[in-house]
């Protein structure tokens, strides 16, 4: 049997390769070094992330297929690579002290974060449904474990179990969808699918439509779109807070990367079929997320519902799916990464061991006792609400602008109304911090150096993108130029 040995283009796999090696080294370091010395593990993982970032930058602007079209290293994928790498970096910085206080400072935590990031990056650059699926599973398995990392906490276990059961279920939907798409088109290659669909004379093939629907369910679960969102509040509340921060941004970014690549490019010829569905899902996701967030008393639960609402805003960009629509998704994702990570960072600083200080009521009077922390929280929450001059405002502006330009005026109106609703519950936290008297004694907070660095990065990102958005918007526009 003659076998054509494939050409191996290691360079285009640079970021993923570097991060995988870093993850393995972190694992080995955490096993072979004595138990007391856990610092090398987190330094090593941060170093790996920096190198992977650098490697992503060097690949920028030279889109090419590699490994027999399994991956397509274009700016779009690299942009999402950078977003998830930054997310992972900030999440690790936030975790160092948090894990020490919880008494679970183990090197495996950092290794799992890196494994999850590798999976996310494969989802972002994957140009074959199989690559995307394997990336998604690598990410999901690591995150299931991370959600249950605080093993002595019941809620952490509950979070991991719920996420695992429902996640496995959604993976099955995704796989079933892939199987149908393969049956209908004869390929799992994204480019091959789009070529087949552009030449196909018969687009109403039920198998194709069923496959598209099942893929929508699979991705919808990962981005926490209504009605596949039921797991989100419980999982986000129970998981260690730094993991919640990581998954609320990283998983969403990676899933949206694959979602956009599959739907807005590969299945673009089916757009008339899926756009109405996406419209309905976007409206439901925004509205339900915002309304449910109003009623929350726990701040992590509130941010969980808020992250559902944000998934809805980003889906508005997918409904538009024009060049402006896609680039506004990228821009929004970057902005969302900084502001959401920042908000969770403040929660981590204020949280005490044993899930204390997690109710919004506990934040009463924080503005007087810890002015810096309260100021940071206000900036992040203003940004999440979309109040200028923050990143969140510009992001929403471009997303809704893209929707209006494509003629989805009602969608944009519903989106803006939803943002107004969201101002209420974001601002409520600020009001509690500055207007209310403390309900109890503050137990003291710890500013660890790594956390300070993480918060500084997040706040600079949030404000810089908000005040000077144009370079970042150009970056987002550049990212989608040479897709597919």
């Amino acid at each position: 049997m003659d076998l054509a040995i494939p050409s191996i283009d290691i360079a285009s796999l640079g970021p993923e390769l570097i991060l995988s090696i870093a993850a393995i080294l972190v694992l080995m370091v955490s096993v072979f070094l004595p138990k007391e010395r856990k610092d090398p593990a987190c330094y090593l993982s941060l170093l790996g992330i920096l190198f992977a970032l650098a490697s992503s930058v060097t690949l920028w602007g030279k889109p090419k297929y590699a490994f027999n079209n399994m991956i397509y290293v274009d700016n779009f994928g690299l942009f999402f690579n950078m977003v998830v790498l930054i997310t992972a970096g900030i999440a690790i910085l936030m975790s160092i002290n948090y894990l020490k206080e919880e008494g679970m400072s183990h090197g495996e935590f950092f290794a799992l974060i890196l494994f999850a990031t590798v999976g996310m990056m494969f989802m972002a650059i994957g140009s074959n449904l199989i690559t995307i699926f394997l990336g998604l599973e690598t990410m999901s398995i690591s995150i299931y474990v991370l959600a249950g990392f605080l093993r002595e906490r019941d809620r952490s276990n509950e979070s991991a179990l719920k996420y695992l059961l429902l996640g496995a279920f959604s993976s099955a939907f995704l796989l079933y969808g892939i199987a149908f798409i393969y049956g209908a088109t004869g390929t799992t290659d994204l480019k091959g699918i789009s070529v087949f669909l552009s030449e196909a004379t018969y687009l109403n093939d039920p198998m194709l439509l069923a496959g598209t629907g099942l893929l929508l369910v699979g991705f919808g679960f990962k981005i926490a779109a209504v009605p596949f969102h039921m797991w989100t509040p419980d999982v986000y509340e129970g998981a260690p807070t730094s993991v919640t921060a990581f998954m609320s941004v990283g998983v969403k970014a990676a899933a949206f990367a694959a979602f956009v690549r599959v739907f807005s490019y590969s299945l673009w010829n089916l757009q008339p079929d899926w756009v109405l569905l996406m419209w309905i899902l976007a409206v439901l996701t925004m509205t339900l997320g915002n309304i449910a967030a109003i009623a929350q008393t726990n701040i992590k639960r509130m941010l969980a519902y808020s992250s559902i609402a944000h998934a809805g805003y980003i889906m508005v960009g997918m409904v538009a799916s024009s060049e402006l629509g896609i680039s506004s998704i990228l821009f929004y994702m970057l902005a969302y990464a900084f502001m959401n990570l920042g908000a969770f960072g403040v929660i981590i600083v204020f949280e005490r061991k044993g899930e204390k200080n997690l109710d919004i009521e506990d934040y009463s009077g924080m503005g007087f006792k810890y002015p810096a922390l309260a100021l940071l929280m206000s900036i992040f929450l203003f940004s999440l609400a979309g109040i200028p001059p923050t990143a969140g405002f510009v992001g929403k502006f471009y997303i809704f602008g893209a929707a209006v330009k494509e003629g989805y005026i009602w969608l944009a109106i519903i989106g803006v109304m939803n943002s107004l609703v969201s101002v209420y519950y974001y601002l409520r936290v600020t009001v509690v911090m500055y207007m209310n008297e403390p309900v109890k004694e503050f137990t003291g907070i710890t500013w660890s150096p790594s956390m300070v660095i993480a918060l500084i990065i997040a706040v600079i990102g949030t404000l810089l993108i908000g005040i000077l958005p144009s370079p970042y918007l150009d970056l987002a526009k550049q990212s989608i130029l040479l897709m597919m």
């Binding site: 049997m1 076998l3 054509a4 040995i5 494939p6 191996i8 796999l13 995988s20 393995i24 694992l27 490994f67 027999n68 399994m70 991956i71 679970m104 183990h106 495996e108 290794a111 799992l112 494994f115 999850a116 590798v118 999976g119 494969f122 074959n128 199989i130 690559t131 394997l134 990336g135 599973e137 690598t138 398995i141 690591s142 299931y144 474990v145 249950g148 990392f149 093993r151 991991a160 079933y176 149908f180 393969y182 049956g183 209908a184 088109t185 004869g186 390929t187 087949f196 196909a200 018969y202 093939d205 039920p206 198998m207 194709l208 069923a210």
Partner: protein, 169 residues
């Protein structure tokens, strides 16, 4: 010829799969699942997918069944006799959704027309090369990247299993 074997095996699959759900005793369910796995392997053979059939027996009927039984023993489900309180509409709603999904997917499959471009591997060609060899020829050349990603996936799973269940980390 194929139909002669297909229908008996398919009936066994359906019955044993339903029994997994309907049995009260979890160990009985697990054994019924074992029968499902074995008969599925039979269906794979009818589809000319002998390698997949072998994997089905080795991995599913072998390793995964062992895990199932261990977990059942670990949880000691006998003592959990209390029925969980359910919303009265929950069951009806679940049945409705499940039957809708069954109708939709069933009609899709029953339509039975594949529009996609067919690959180069016909039944005769696969038989000439050998099933396992044909799979290997693709897996280790064109699909090398997914193959290597699998190892990262498995490594993450090893770490995860130990992190979650080891007494002293």
């Amino acid at each position: 010829m194929t139909a002669f074997f297909f229908f008996p095996i398919a009936i066994v699959v359906l019955i044993s799969a339903s029994l997994v759900i309907f049995f009260r005793n979890p160990v009985h369910s697990a054994l019924s699942l074992l029968l499902t796995f074995f008969s599925l392997a039979g269906l794979y053979i009818l589809l000319n997918a002998q390698f997949v059939a072998a994997i089905q027996v080795i991995v599913y009927a072998g390793a995964i069944m062992v895990l199932f039984l261990f977990v059942i023993m670990l949880l000691n489900l006998d003592k959990v006799k209390k029925e969980r309180e359910r919303h009265p509409l929950q069951k009806a709603f679940g049945i409705l959704i499940a039957s809708l999904l069954l109708v939709v997917l069933g009609s899709v499959i029953a339509s039975g027309i594949l529009y996609g471009t067919k690959g180069i591997y016909t039944v005769e060609k696969v038989a000439a090369i050998g099933n396992t060899k044909a799979i290997a020829g693709l897996l280790f050349t064109d699909w090398i990247l997914p193959f290597e990603i699998t190892s990262i996936l498995l490594l993450a799973a090893i770490v995860g299993a130990i992190v979650l269940s080891k007494k002293e980390l």
